[in-house]
């Protein structure tokens, strides 16, 4: 068995690292406080206003003989028993009616006013952070060089999917550049995050007065609320896949590289 030759490479420049961790904090708080805000009206509808026909997601509870709430979720007309998690769950030892459970919301107990405070403060940090990221990425060439797929990247599309499915991770020089799926995932999540911010602004009545076309474009304010929620679900899905990939591709090395910038790469595959 031949020992692999490893090399320490400076992989993530400091703006990427700083903005990445600020973004982690922002998204965590925004999702938690967003679910708190959602809980004030745990229904989602299409259109300008809330109508029974337009409602596609509803969380609620029925009361049994013991008068305890039994949580249920209705998605696209199908009702699921989701007691304990969605519709009704425990808050400080009491089983109460609420959309998302206390462990997922900021603050934990029902407190819309404080949820809004958290949400809008971190929305500002998130937007400023995102604009700095876009400005730096484009200004430094990171966006064009590392994120936009090249023709070669596209040619490796099928191979990359196959490698990801087998959890095979590239070595050597190939490990030092983003592969096609990474590029598409990062570009996709940037687009989704821009969309979330836009849909958040579309829900603001004052901004609606200035940009009514934004809310009309998506079919109304409740549609904007639905899309804001769905895009946030897409971000959660991205984070889940992102964390999974970090875990299976050398978690210490990956996390360290996002803190110190240095990444250890195997230049030669060991013989098996």
């Amino acid at each position: 068995m031949e020992m692999p030759i490893t090399q320490r490479v400076y992989r993530h420049r400091w703006p990427v690292r700083v903005l990445h961790w600020v973004n982690v904090i922002c998204l965590t708080v925004l999702i938690g406080s967003g679910l708190q805000i959602f809980n004030a009206h745990p229904n989602l509808s299409w259109g300008q206003t809330n109508t029974d026909e337009g409602t596609w997601l509803a969380m609620g509870a029925s009361r049994g003989a013991d008068n305890a709430p039994r949580g249920a979720t209705t998605l696209l007309g199908h009702t699921f028993q989701t007691d304990g998690v969605l519709g009704a769950s425990a808050v400080n030892g009491h089983h109460v009616q609420r959309g998302f459970p206390a462990w997922a919301t900021i603050p934990g107990p029902t407190w819309l006013a404080m949820g809004r405070r958290w949400h809008f403060f971190f929305a500002w940090v998130f937007v400023i952070n995102g604009l700095l990221y876009l400005a730096w990425s484009i200004g430094s060439g990171h966006f064009q060089k590392d994120l936009l797929p090249t023709r070669r990247d596209w040619r490796g599309f099928g191979q990359s999917i196959w490698d990801h499915l087998r959890l095979r991770h590239p070595h050597g020089d190939e490990a030092l550049r983003y592969n096609i799926l990474q590029r598409l995932a990062y570009l996709g999540v940037i687009a989704v995050l821009c969309g979330i911010a836009l849909m958040g602004m579309a829900m603001s009545p004052r901004l609606d007065a200035a940009f009514p076309w934004l809310v009309d474009w998506v079919g109304g304010r409740q549609s904007a609320r639905s899309i804001h929620f769905l895009l946030a679900c897409a971000v959660v899905a991205f984070v889940a896949v992102h964390l999974f990939e970090v875990l299976v591709s050398g978690v210490v090395n990956q996390v360290r590289s996002m803190i110190t910038g240095y990444y250890t790469v195997k230049m030669k595959e060991p013989h098996e």
């Binding site: 206003t49 109508t51 603050p107 200035a210």
Partner: protein
């Protein structure tokens, strides 16, 4: 390997727990919310820049009107004074206007109508998240203010309401003069072509179309012009503001 996985799982769960407990601690502290609240001024100024003060909220057509306009918050005030007025169909209702004005007084519906009338079909956005569209008719607040002549020191318009919360506190709200003089800021006495129902704020309610529902004070008893709302209620400019909500409700 499984040790490592357990460790990671424990680490992630503890981090989440620390984060949530930490956020709750900050919410309950004195300084934390003050820092979070600093975003409100930034939002108000930024929205003022991109959405000029004179810009109108979108108006809809008759076919867009919601079949039911949800009555939220108080739906029936309980003070004897209000109930007596209600039993009489609000014939004896007079809107009192006082404070920093040159011509304080009490206005009947007929007198308010001489000031002009505006009808608008607008979308109402509740802080809870739902929306409804309704047609409102009422007196432009700008016309009433012109008639009562605010003094130069007047900065805010305060709406004192008939409905009580928590058994004692009366609902109130406030606007700055710029928002109060916006063409769509009206004192509405009609919803969808009918006399304003009690559930929606009879005899008179505020419409301030570019802000969230709680700014639209229902059951208005008296309007007061003030230089500062520091000494009214808990000093935050409104009942919900005293309970932690933003005074600027454009978002």
């Amino acid at each position: 390997m499984s040790d490592r996985r357990d460790f990671l799982r424990q680490a992630v769960l503890s981090a989440m727990g620390v984060l949530l407990v930490g956020c709750d601690r900050i919410s309950d502290s004195g300084t934390g919310p003050r820092i979070l609240e600093s975003a409100e001024g930034l939002t108000r100024r930024a929205q003022g820049l991109v959405s000029p003060a004179s810009r109108l909220a979108k108006e809809f057509s008759v076919s867009d009107i919601s079949p039911v306009f949800k009555a939220n918050g108080t739906t029936m005030p309980t003070t004897e004074h209000y109930l007596a007025l209600m039993r009489d169909g609000f014939r004896n209702y007079r809107l009192k206007v006082d404070g920093l004005v040159r011509r304080p007084g009490a206005w009947s519906f007929d007198e308010l109508r001489t000031l002009g009338e505006r009808t608008q079909i607008t979308r109402h956005d509740c802080v809870e998240g739902w929306s409804a569209i309704g047609q409102w008719t009422g007196t432009p607040l700008a016309a009433l203010l012109a008639a009562v002549e605010p003094t130069t020191s007047a900065k805010y318009v305060v709406f004192h309401c008939f409905d009580q919360w928590d058994d004692e506190v009366f609902y109130y709200e406030s606007l700055d003069l710029k928002e109060a003089r916006h063409p769509q800021t009206i004192l509405a006495y009609s919803l969808n072509g009918e006399t304003l129902p009690v559930g929606n704020g009879a005899p008179l309610r505020l419409r301030v179309e570019r802000q969230l529902g709680y700014k639209h004070a229902k059951y208005i008893e008296r309007i007061e012009l003030v230089e500062s709302f520091e000494n009214i209620g808990d000093g935050n400019g409104g009942y919900w503001e005293d309970n932690g909500y933003e005074w600027y409700a454009g978002i």
